[in-house]
């Protein structure tokens, strides 16, 4: 028994380490597979790179899409739009890109990886605080206090850019204790109670449910961001990709997005 225990433990350890090392959200092998004989059929697997704030709404839309198109499979990669844009321009295999800012999408269009984006939703900011609001945050001005620990998105990420616009509108200077890689990371720091407040999208506060409480930002200082979506020129399954984009832009897509808290024009 002793003889196999050590190698077995080592094997388990390596397996556990490898499992932990894989970090992407994909649950299926990546890469668009070739669709069947009819070129316009919607039965392939597509990779959709989407802003982290779209996680709940798009996951729901993805499974609805798969139910309507038998054989089609949608694999999501959620993350900060700026990081995803970088991945795409560096050659990551993706079919659709949904960004939380027009600027990030413009960068991808400029590098020739996307064409003809369409705006499909808009989002505004809200302050998220741990349940019961232990620091008593009531307005954006409270975030400027030194005793209040604030988490914000990194300066390059869309939610960080829009949060800064809110602060500029309110005329306050907020120094965060941490700048997280995407909006969901900010949300998790808030729900863990490690910070007193975070500035996230209204959709994130809604999606977090009981984990956080929301403190509204008045409309006169709030800022919004527009979400564009586009198929990518490097896509290997343009039919399925376009079908998914059309689905997001359809009434079914609009209702799912509105339910999540996005504003759809």
């Amino acid at each position: 028994m002793r003889r196999i225990a050590a190698p077995l433990f080592a094997l388990l350890a390596v397996a556990a380490w490898l499992a932990g090392c894989g970090g992407s959200n994909e649950s299926a092998p990546a890469g668009g597979s070739a669709s069947s004989s009819a070129p316009a059929s919607v039965t392939g697997t597509i990779n959709v790179f989407a802003a982290a704030s779209l996680q709940e709404a798009f996951t729901k839309l993805g499974s609805q899409f798969e139910q309507e198109h038998a054989g089609a499979k949608v694999v999501f990669n959620f993350g900060p739009s700026s990081g995803l844009g970088q991945q795409i321009t560096s050659g990551a295999p993706a079919d659709v890109f949904a960004s939380a800012s027009t600027k990030t999408m413009d960068d991808v269009v400029k590098s020739g990886d996307a064409a003809a984006p369409t705006d499909f939703a808009a989002n505004t900011m809200e302050m998220a605080v741990p349940p019961d609001n232990p620091a008593g945050v009531k307005s954006v001005n409270d975030l400027a206090k030194r005793s209040v620990k604030v988490a914000l998105c990194d300066v390059e990420v869309p939610c960080g850019v829009v949060a800064q616009q809110v602060f500029d509108n309110a005329g306050v200077t907020v120094t965060p204790v941490t700048r997280e890689v995407d909006v969901k990371a900010v949300l998790s720091k808030v729900s863990l109670g490690e910070v007193d407040a975070g500035v996230v999208y209204v959709t994130d506060v809604k999606a977090a449910g009981k984990d956080v409480d929301g403190v509204e930002i008045p409309a006169d200082i709030n800022a919004s961001t527009t979400y564009p979506i586009a198929t990518l020129t490097g896509s290997e399954d343009k039919a399925t990709a376009q079908a998914f984009v059309d689905y997001v832009l359809s009434p079914a897509g609009a209702s799912a997005l509105q339910e999540a808290g996005f504003s759809v024009s």
Partner: protein, 279 residues
Amino acid sequence: MTTTRAAPTRRRSAAEDQQRAPWPLAAPAAVAVAFLVLPLMGLLVRAPWSNLGQVLAESAVLDALRLSLVCATSATALSLVFGVPLAWVLARARFPGRGLLRALVTLPLVLPPVVGGVALLLAFGRRGIVGQYLDAWFGFTLPFTTLGVVVAETFVAMPFLIVTVEGAFRSSDRGFEEAATTLGASRLTVFRRVTLPLIRPSLIAGAVLCWARALGEFGATITFAGNFPGRTQTMPIAVYLALERDPDAAIALSLVLLTVSVAVLVAMRDRWLNTGAAA
């Protein structure tokens, strides 16, 4: 220290020593070499050599470098102060559950670093099982502080030191220690002036390994200590974020870390790369 040889075997001739690798071994070996070396070559080839100095002199880069060096060194110091005694206890003391304890303290070796970060938050975070008392009694929290970075790095790096040093304690010659005791030295003196010097090579190797691991730590640091330039943004985090905004800076930072890694390997070549050497 000399090692005793087993019964002498037939001396191999010089011709036998120089073997050509048979192709079933050489081919996979060549693939392995290419796999390991090509990424490093890519880094060197694509580096922005012409404005490297300018990129590296940016204050954010210097901040990250300084912070990384300070935190890695502090983490190594903490690991030495607390890890060496633990290694001694694991190697020499006899008590029930010693095997289990050894498995537990080496767990961070195989734990995915982000999991380590989450665990640290749950223990030492503002609402953690210990951290909540730190906050309530002293108004002090570890997350988002430089000390928090040191704690995270110590958590992932200390087991490396413990494992290396414990092995050395176990295999060191007790005869010298017993001789010192019979000559009247107290237990502490024996430890300080006989045991430790005997394991000095392992101690140094363990400390360097610990330092290198702490320097490269990313997952636990960003999860537990967060990211703020100058305070908690270490080099690996800076590289990760720089990839989004300024790929040239990311490559330059990566080069710096690569240089440090090469320096570590060069310093440790006798120990790690020379398989015939004695401990």
